[in-house]
């Protein structure tokens, strides 16, 4: 990761290729800027998101994690996005048990046409994570 500055949070965004990933592309096309803190990981569907992806991200020091999938009812695989949300909710509970704030993890739903919304989400999570402070498990030099 480019930045070692402790003021820059690191947020991993697991993005479905059919919506959020394309929306990120659109945000670029629209010349919208969003915080560099958000690092996008492309997935075939948010249904691919596994509890371990989310936990390992935090274990490796991510300050926040976004899961961004299609709008309800618009999943290309019918309900991958709905299942992802169930997993995200469970992991939020586990993060709290672990001693990290559950708010560091959040799922969003959007469409490929919502480039502006993607930039909003990136800003919202960056602000939230900045307010929460760095992940105390962070391995980066602080």
């Amino acid at each position: 990761m480019a930045s070692e500055n402790h003021r820059d949070p690191q947020i991993v965004a697991f993005c479905c290729r059919h919506c959020a990933y394309a929306a990120a592309d659109l945000a670029g096309g629209l010349r919208l800027s969003y915080p560099a803190a958000v690092k996008v990981v492309e997935l075939p569907c948010t249904g691919r998101v596994d509890a371990l992806h989310l936990l390992r991200a935090f274990e490796e020091g991510a300050d926040g994690v976004i899961v961004a999938g299609c709008l309800p009812g618009e999943c290309h695989y019918l309900e991958g996005n709905l299942r992802a949300r169930q997993r995200v909710e469970r992991m939020r509970g586990l993060l709290t048990e672990i001693g990290l704030e559950g708010e560091r993890l959040e799922m969003f739903n959007l469409s490929a046409a919502m480039g502006t919304r993607l930039a909003e989400i990136a800003n919202l999570m960056t602000e939230r994570i900045t307010a929460l402070g760095p992940n105390p498990l962070g391995k980066r030099r602080r």
Binding site: A51, L52, L55, R56, F58, E59, L94, E97, I98, G99, L100, P136, L137
Partner: protein, 229 residues
């Protein structure tokens, strides 16, 4: 299958006080399919423990392993070389697996990560229900394939009781009355007359009341020289 449920993280953490290195050991059989103690759950718990204990202090080193079945020596034996490197083994198997580990490796400090809950099945994904109490003397032939020992709150042999209301047990609205289920099924099968036969008291000595149970099959035993120690 044997159905289990993971203990709360706080309880597991308190069991691990004073432990620096732990091997989280999953089982690839019953607890894998009830999603409580298989390879996936081992990964999740180990990751959660590493994080939680680092947040609390120095952190515990958590390694992961999952064997096909913790309740058979042959699957446990490959762990022999690894175990001396750990202060404790946190088993995500049922109580049988935990005890098998403890018996096979007398030097190992073996801890349970699950509560072994019941013998049951998932009637739908994400829900598990009790179906058998291993009473040692099956009566399903007389009850239309529905077990009143496991599924009637009172274990009645001649039900239902007065607590059966609207097909539900008075104990909980989530619990169907087993005797209602039995009546409905026998009725659908045209075998209601079978229920007129009054069942005598059950011989509970075949169940836990007779003490720990054991089965010996002489035809399957190995010659004395080949038997496990």
């Amino acid at each position: 299958m044997i159905v289990g449920e993971q203990k709360p993280l706080a309880e597991i953490k308190s069991m691990l006080q004073g432990v620096h290195r732990v091997l989280v050991a999953g089982c690839g059989t019953c607890v894998t399919v009830c999603m409580a103690g298989g390879e996936k759950e081992v990964g999740i718990l180990a990751s959660a423990l590493r994080m939680a204990t680092r947040l609390d202090g120095d952190g515990i080193e958590c390694d992961e392993v999952t064997v096909q079945r913790q309740c058979e020596w042959e699957y446990l034996d490959p762990l022999a070389e690894r175990l001396p490197h750990y202060d404790a083994v946190l088993s995500l198997a049922c109580g049988i697996g935990v005890q098998a580990l403890a018996q096979r490796f007398p030097e190992a400090w073996v801890l349970p990560g699950l509560n072994t809950t019941f013998l049951g099945m998932p009637p739908e994904q994400g829900i598990w229900e009790e179906r058998c109490q291993a009473c040692g003397q099956c009566i399903l032939d007389r009850t239309g394939g529905i077990c009143p020992i496991a599924r009637c709150s009172k274990q009645l042999l001649n039900g239902p009781c007065g607590g059966s209301q609207g097909g539900k047990c008075e104990v909980s609205d989530d619990t169907p009355c087993a005797w209602q289920l039995i009546y409905d099924r026998m009725s659908a099968l045209g075998r209601l007359e079978r229920l007129l036969e009054v069942q005598p008291p059950k011989d509970w000595s075949a169940a836990r009341h007779g003490g720990p149970r054991r089965i010996v099959r002489e035809d399957l035993r190995l010659p004395p020289d080949y038997r496990a120690a």
